[in-house]
């Protein structure tokens, strides 16, 4: 199984950015957040993803600034290492190997060279007992050091990392678990414990949910499950301790955080309202409402000018201290459940799935960027538990991406089901989908599946429903309406022995339509609506159905509930082969003959990749993940890889993403891919052998910057399809969005040589050219060259130096 090691499951793209509190760099220019296996660095001003710190091999579970050097960041990961990074340049400085899975990291200025980590107690993994340990980081010049000096601070702590905080000047650490607050004083080496009652007469739920310590006073703020915030004081007395209670949140407080000066306390919870409490002034408070999803974390910059909140809808909001939202960093929105399939928008190659309630989201996996939400339901969503509201349950694109069909549904739980089928046309002008037809009673019962025909000429939609019918919909000129616009109407209603249809699928050339009616698969000709043949392989109801692609288009593959995977040859109408395997998801790759099948057996999911023409799997990957696999999709690559290796060949043309029940988006990565990534990150370091002159810095650098700016904005194919924004505007609108903070220089430069405007415009022309060149290349792996630290320092120096001599030169030039 050597081959398997080459293809591994990674979290890549669309991963959670709200797992841990984001941190703001000391100069307030960057926001860092743990995202999957890497740490992402965003610009606070432009909200743009600058780069990511890659190197961990498992989920990054905590990040914190190095108190000794504010340009460095510590990160800890479930892979058992703590890494120290230079986050501006993205250079890994050091790796400390701890050896246990780590879950959170804390540092304090007073504890130099010591990090505090959450590790899982190895004794019993069932109860999830977490331990807080102090680790002395050895000082050595080596890149990889093993840190062996572990000393336990507390052996039973809450798994929630927001329940631990350092107190004033690092003198004590406070941690809460369930109903108990513990304060450990380092100097005295003594722990004080305070307990609350589980409930009181008024039904308050007193469990601790988060904790924060005042930076200057000995005051601990704790958030509770019932929405109360308590401020604890005098906690060196076990009896005369005291606390005051504030209550605004109506549900659990997810986070509390003091501003660096300690003048205010920020808190957030499920209401998605950021509350700022004035410290010491009782109940005086300010609100910032309607921030989106519920607030999970709040953090502040060290100067207190910026706040950062992360939300349950995978979003980070950057807020000024004047309570104004100044930036939103949106990741892949993960709702309660993905009801639609994972789809790829054929136009933008963006991943499409449920996002905000009632919306479809478009997410660019390549640039790992949320593009936009498409409002399907077009009704106000009411945030209230237990309210039955419209949800998008099905969606499908036609092959060119001109049409989008959606089904929204309400009343899944109750008997009176409401649903409607909507068809959306792509509007070139607004670059987004526009509602074309709404069919309120498409069927008399729930729509089970739908698909578009795959031919280029005619678009046809087939829906199957629980009422025992399948319907074909066509865009036709309606005789009644005299308008230019063509609406969709029903073309054909088909049924088979009153059985309930479940799945439908068009063959690659759209000449055949397969509809499964429980155990029976019927093959229809869409042109004549004639039932051509039926295929049946009892026992077991057909669960999934698909045609082979490309050269294998004569094959029809189906899975049944009785653990059977069957492949029929449609030319002979005979079963080609069948095998007994429990398949939970069948996913054909549109760009190759490959079909991926996920099977869930004995508590883990296995992946088989096969071609329909041979019953032998091309590739198998055991134990992809421990949960049941939910949805999967093949995402076409920008540029095909050329892996010769048999095991990774199937990933050459497209990449397989899948979604687990825990809403983790995972993918497979090959060794070659990773190699390329590593080499590109190394390239960052080698730089600057050229002698640096002021002119080089001014002009050369500027050019380089322009290039750099444009590289992220890849070729047109994956241009974010901003609704209401035309393509031409895009180019113009980009720079302001894309300027990294270094570009301040340009303005000063412009002032300086305003007379050289022509030259300047030439530069821009050049920049455009270079961009076009890049576009022509269309290289995916072109990674942004970044200014190294040395360069930047140089830049700063140059910025400071007096340029008056040059002004003189320019003046004397003519």
């Amino acid at each position: 199984m050597v081959e398997q090691s080459e293809v591994r499951v990674v979290r890549c793209g669309g991963s959670k950015i709200n797992l841990r509190p984001p941190i703001i760099s000391t100069d307030s220019r960057f926001v860092l957040c743990a995202s999957g296996d890497s740490v992402k660095v965003y610009s606070t001003r432009t909200e743009e993803w600058l780069h990511s710190l890659q190197g961990h091999t498992n989920q990054v579970t905590g990040i914190t600034l190095n108190p000794a050097n504010h340009l460095q960041v510590y990160s800890c990961s479930a892979d058992g290492t703590v890494k120290l990074w230079d986050f501006i340049d993205g250079i890994l400085i050091k790796t400390f190997i701890i050896g246990y899975p780590l879950f959170a990291i804390y540092v304090s200025e007073k504890h130099d060279g010591i990090v505090f980590l959450h590790i899982a107690m190895d004794t019993d993994s069932k109860n999830e007992c977490f331990q807080l340990v102090a680790v002395h980081l050895p000082k050595s010049a080596e890149q990889e050091v093993e840190a062996k000096e572990l000393s336990a601070v507390s052996s039973r702590i809450s798994p929630n990392p927001s329940c631990t905080a350092f107190g004033r000047e690092g003198q004590y650490i406070a941690f809460a678990r369930h109903l108990q607050l513990n304060v450990y004083f380092f100097r005295k080496q003594k722990t004080y414990s305070f307990s609350l009652k589980a409930t009181d007469k008024k039904g308050a739920k007193n469990a601790f949910t988060c904790i924060a310590c005042h930076p200057a006073d000995d005051c601990i703020a704790t958030g509770h499950e019932d929405g109360k915030i308590r401020l604890w004081r005098n906690f060196i007395h076990t009896k005369e301790y005291t606390y005051s209670t504030q209550h605004w949140h109506h549900n659990a407080v997810n986070t509390v955080c003091f501003t660096p000066e300690g003048t205010n306390l920020l808190s957030g919870g499920i209401e998605s309202v950021l509350v700022q409490w004035q410290y010491g002034a009782g109940n005086r408070k300010e609100f910032l409402p309607r921030l989106g999803g519920s607030i999970l974390h709040v953090s502040t910059s060290s100067d207190g000018q910026l706040f950062c909140t992360s939300h349950s809808d995978n979003k980070i909001t950057v807020i000024e201290s004047s309570f104004k939202v100044c930036g939103v960093i949106q990741g892949l929105v993960k709702g309660d459940a993905v009801l639609t399939d994972l789809m790829i928008d054929p136009r933008s190659k963006a991943l499409v799935l449920n996002g905000k309630p009632g919306h479809l989201q478009f997410y660019s996996l390549l640039r790992d960027k949320h593009l936009y939400n498409l409002d399907i339901v077009q009704q106000e969503y009411i945030y209230e538990a237990g309210l039955d509201q419209f949800e998008v349950v099905k969606a499908a694109f036609d092959i060119k991406g001109y049409w989008l069909a959606t089904v929204e549904e309400r009343g899944q739980k109750s008997s009176d089901l409401e649903f409607s089928l909507k068809l959306w046309a792509y509007d070139e002008r607004t670059q987004s989908f526009v509602l074309n037809t709404t069919i309120t009673a498409a069927h008399t019962d729930r729509i089970m599946s739908m698909c578009f025909s795959s031919s280029e000429e005619t678009t046809m939609l087939v829906t199957t429903a629980e009422d025992g019918q399948f319907k074909a919909w066509c865009q036709g000129a309606d005789a009644d309406t005299q308008q230019d616009q063509n609406f969709w109407s029903c073309d054909f209603v088909g049924s088979y022995h009153n059985l309930k249809p479940t799945n439908c699928s068009f063959s690659a050339d759209s000449s055949l339509l397969a509809v499964s009616f429980q155990e029976v698969i019927t093959i229809w000709s869409p042109d004549t609506w004639e039932l051509l043949t039926t295929l049946c392989q009892p026992p077991g109801v057909v669960r999934d159905l698909c045609f082979g692609q490309l050269s294998c288009s004569k094959y029809l593959i189906a899975t049944t509930t009785r653990n059977l995977l069957c492949c029929w040859n449609l030319l002979t109408c005979a079963l080609e082969w069948s095998t007994s395997v429990e398949v939970s998801k069948l996913q054909p790759d549109p760009l190759s003959e490959n079909v991926a099948a996920f099977s869930y057996q004995s508590k883990h999911t296995d992946l088989f990749v096969f071609k329909p023409n041979e019953p032998r799997p091309l590739f198998t990957h055991k134990n992809v993940c421990s949960e049941k696999m939910h949805r999967a999709v093949f995402v076409p690559r920008e540029e095909p890889l050329n892996n010769c290796d048999e095991s990774s060949q199937w990933l050459n043309r497209s990449q397989l993403y899948f979604l687990t029940q825990n809403m983790d988006l995972l993918t497979f990565s090959t060794a070659t891919e990773e190699d390329r990534m590593l080499s590109s990150s190394k390239r960052l370091v080698i730089d600057d052998s050229v002698a640096v002159t002021p002119f080089y810095l001014l002009l050369g650098k500027h050019r380089q910057q322009q290039q750099k700016l444009n590289t992220p904005s890849h070729p047109a194919a994956d241009k974010p399809q901003q609704p209401q924004g035309s393509l031409t505007c895009l180019l113009l609108s980009f720079p302001s969005l894309f300027f990294p903070p270094e570009m301040e220089m340009e303005s000063s430069e412009q002032e300086m040589n305003s007379e050289k405007e022509e030259e300047h415009s030439e530069e821009e022309m050049e920049a455009c050219d270079s961009q076009q060149e890049l576009r022509a290349q269309g290289s995916v792996d072109e990674v942004t060259p970044k200014l190294s630290k040395a360069q930047e320092r140089e830049l700063k120096r140059v910025r400071k130096t007096d340029f008056s001599w040059m002004a003189g030169l320019i003046d004397s030039k003519p």
Partner: protein, 685 residues
């Protein structure tokens, strides 16, 4: 336990009066409470907050302030007078006019030498406290607006006075104002309204703390006269402040009905720079809190909703016990209902009048728990208004229902009731013996031939009453002991004995045949809350405020064996932890081993023939017993049978026909009759 027919009486519209002022005496651990109707009550803080003394009020006699000077209690009110109380005899000692218009506040200094009152005319008047009276000494500098609140500096050299819109600090020596500090008015519309400094507290370190009508608690420095810090506590008024003895905790009562605690804690642990920080909030009231007091282990608050709330401070309590539970005192610890058992009449005592009702009658029989058909509705026979301004102190109706007696602080009146068919008339008995000028407690003998009247010096006057008139028979005096007023009287069924209990916990038993003191029950540390003499055995059954019970054999002059067993084995934890005192002791003539008790929340029958429960047995076991068979029941049953069917009980009485009269006054009914509280926004409404 037995089955009873129950008259569930809910037509006693008793309304407790709102609490206006509180004063705590640290040395004697007594809490004085002044109510809106002018009555003053004294609670014993270390004896489960038993209401030891009640001094009834008068019409048009509002009390605004209350102050202890040593063991003497003074009050001042809007009628402009300062009143001293005679706590021994539970009456007003004297009232002198301060000649400054209505008095808003009164404060005594810690040295016990002077009283200061704040008057409507803007003067702070100093009174010297003499041996047996007080004497006007002088005025401090007169101000333009009324003085609403006063506080002495603990040294007695300075006084802080809260006024409209400002606070003045006076030097007592010179009488001149040292500082004038302006309190800010509210913002917006309330800008035009004056800011009333409702309450002021002067600390020994020179900090002045004020609570005002803007809702702020402000801290001022008396050296510079500047504001140190202000806490916005509420949107309405902060009406009352109180600081603990060691000045590390402060409580503020607001008109929203919340009590806010502030504590003087160090901001950085281990260092001395302390600050006042708002900490806890107590929400036990529905209406304005007019008075708060922080006593050693608890915060006591009272207000318009007429309940006295004792909220224990758990950090000050060494060990948790029944005494450290939250306590709400709604009803007086005295009986307001008298019952003429033989004729089925009920006498209800209101502050200013008496009501006589005849109980209804029912017919048929029902299963336990069902209600019977009422054949005849209860009927109000009489509404007897008090002559004069004084409120009723005590009242009684004779068992035969023929005689009604009541006493105020100044007069005692005896009426004879004529009742022939539907014609009811009363005649006042004139020419009462001179000794019957006023009584602390009244009681008829069981054959209605004699009236016992407790009066001064712990003595009981014995008066025989008959058709012809009323004749003084003699005075029963204790051999020795204190002269505290008697608050309980109990006469034996056979007419041989009468027992009296006074507020020094003394219980004297008199022989009525010899008219001499028979004996004195050994003094117990807790006050007697109810007592009764057993009709068959002539044993005196006493209930105490700490929920202990004693049975004393009068004839043998010693505790009975049962009582000794109770003391030896101890009472069940759940019994001892109850927080309201037992108010009546009754005996069932049909079942001599049964003693019936009640408090505010329950009715209990003690079967002296059954074993006593220990801490391991289930105390409330009626439901368990029901599920058991007859034989198993015997082994599981114990002496205490508690019935919690009735709530907010004012009185329970056992009638000769084996029916119970339960007089309830539901707290909800009281709440509906209170004025509307300040409107507050409630979440999700």
């Amino acid at each position: 336990m037995g089955e009873f027919k129950v008259h569930r009486v809910r037509f006693f519209d008793y309304m407790p009066s709102g609490i206006r002022a509180l004063a705590f005496n640290q040395d004697t651990e007594r809490m004085a409470v002044a109510r809106m109707d002018g009555s003053v009550e004294v609670f014993h803080c270390s004896d489960r907050f038993f209401q030891e003394k009640i001094i009834p009020g008068r019409e048009q006699f509002g009390i605004e302030g209350l102050s202890w000077v040593g063991e003497r209690l003074f009050s001042a009110g809007l009628n402009g007078g300062i009143t001293e109380y005679d706590l021994t005899n539970q009456k007003v000692k004297y009232t002198i006019d301060a000649y400054g218009g209505p008095i808003w506040t009164i404060a005594g200094n810690q040295q016990g030498t002077h009283l200061a009152v704040g008057c409507e005319d803007g003067t702070v008047k100093l009174f010297e406290v003499n041996e047996d009276n007080i004497q006007f000494e002088r005025n401090l500098d007169r101000q333009k607006s009324r003085i609403v609140s006063l506080s002495w500096h603990p040294s007695g050299s300075k006084i802080a006075a809260g006024m409209m819109d400002m606070i003045q600090v006076f030097n007592v020596e010179t009488g001149h104002s040292m500082h004038r500090m302006l309190a800010d008015r509210g913002v917006g519309t309330s800008r035009s309204k004056e800011c009333v400094v409702w309450s002021v507290v002067y600390l020994s370190d020179g900090t002045i703390i004020t609570g005002d009508s803007v809702g702020m608690v402000k801290l001022w420095d008396d050296q510079t006269g500047t504001l140190i810090k202000s806490h916005n506590v509420t949107k309405c008024d902060v009406l009352a402040l109180s600081v603990s003895q060691n000045e590390d905790s402060l409580v503020a009562g607001t008109s929203e009905g919340i009590v806010v605690q502030f504590q003087f804690v160090s901001m950085v642990l281990g260092k001395d720079d302390k600050e006042w920080v708002r900490t806890r909030t107590f929400r036990n009231h529905t209406h304005d809190i007019r008075a708060v007091a922080e006593i050693t282990t608890a915060v006591v608050s009272g207000g318009m909703d007429a309940q006295l709330v004792v909220r224990p401070l758990l950090d000050k309590i060494e060990e948790r016990s029944a005494a450290s539970a939250l306590r709400k005192i709604h009803f007086p610890h005295r009986r307001l209902v008298a019952c003429a058992r033989k004729s089925g009449l009920m006498l209800f005592q209101y502050p200013g009048h008496l009501e006589l009702w005849r109980l209804g009658e029912s017919e048929g029989k029902g299963i336990p728990g069902s209600s019977l058909f009422v054949k005849r509705n209860p009927e109000k026979l009489l509404h007897l208004k008090v002559k004069g301004e004084d409120h009723i102190r005590c009242s009684a109706v004779s068992p035969c229902g023929e005689w009604i007696v009541y006493s105020t602080a100044s007069t005692l009146r005896l009426y004879r009731l004529h009742c022939d068919n539907n014609n009811i008339s009363i005649t006042k008995i004139s020419k009462l013996p001179k000794v019957l000028s006023s009584a602390n407690q009244l009681c008829f003998s069981s054959d209605s031939s004699h009236l016992f009247s407790a009066s001064a010096q712990s003595s009981v006057h014995l008066v025989s009453i008959s058709q012809s008139g009323c004749k003084f028979v003699g005075t029963l005096k204790p051999k020795s002991g204190s002269h505290q007023a008697i608050h309980l009287l109990a006469a034996s069924e056979d007419g041989k004995w009468v027992a009296s209990a006074n507020s020094d916990h003394e219980v004297h038993i008199y022989n009525l045949q010899t008219r001499k003191a028979h004996c004195t029950v050994p003094i117990y540390s807790s006050a007697v809350t109810a007592m009764g003499i057993h009709p068959a055995t002539n044993c005196l059954f006493m209930m105490h405020a700490d929920q202990q019970m004693f049975e004393y054999s009068i004839e043998q002059k010693q505790y009975t064996d049962w009582s000794r067993t109770v003391q030896r084995k101890g009472l069940h934890r759940l019994w001892v932890e109850r927080d309201t005192p037992c108010l009546n002791v009754m005996f069932n003539p049909q079942n001599p081993s049964h003693v019936i008790l009640h408090d505010m929340y329950m009715l209990c029958i003690i079967d002296q023939s059954l074993p006593l429960p220990d801490d391991k047995t289930q105390f409330y076991n009626q439901l368990t017993l029901k599920s058991l068979t007859e034989e198993q029941r015997k082994s599981h049953s114990h002496a205490f049978k508690v019935c919690k069917t009735f709530k907010d009980i004012l009185c329970v009485e056992l009638m000769p026909d084996q029916s119970l009269v339960v007089v309830e006054r539901p707290l909800e009914d009281i709440a509906t009759q209170l004025p509307a509280p300040i409107k507050q926004k409630k979440f999700a409404t």
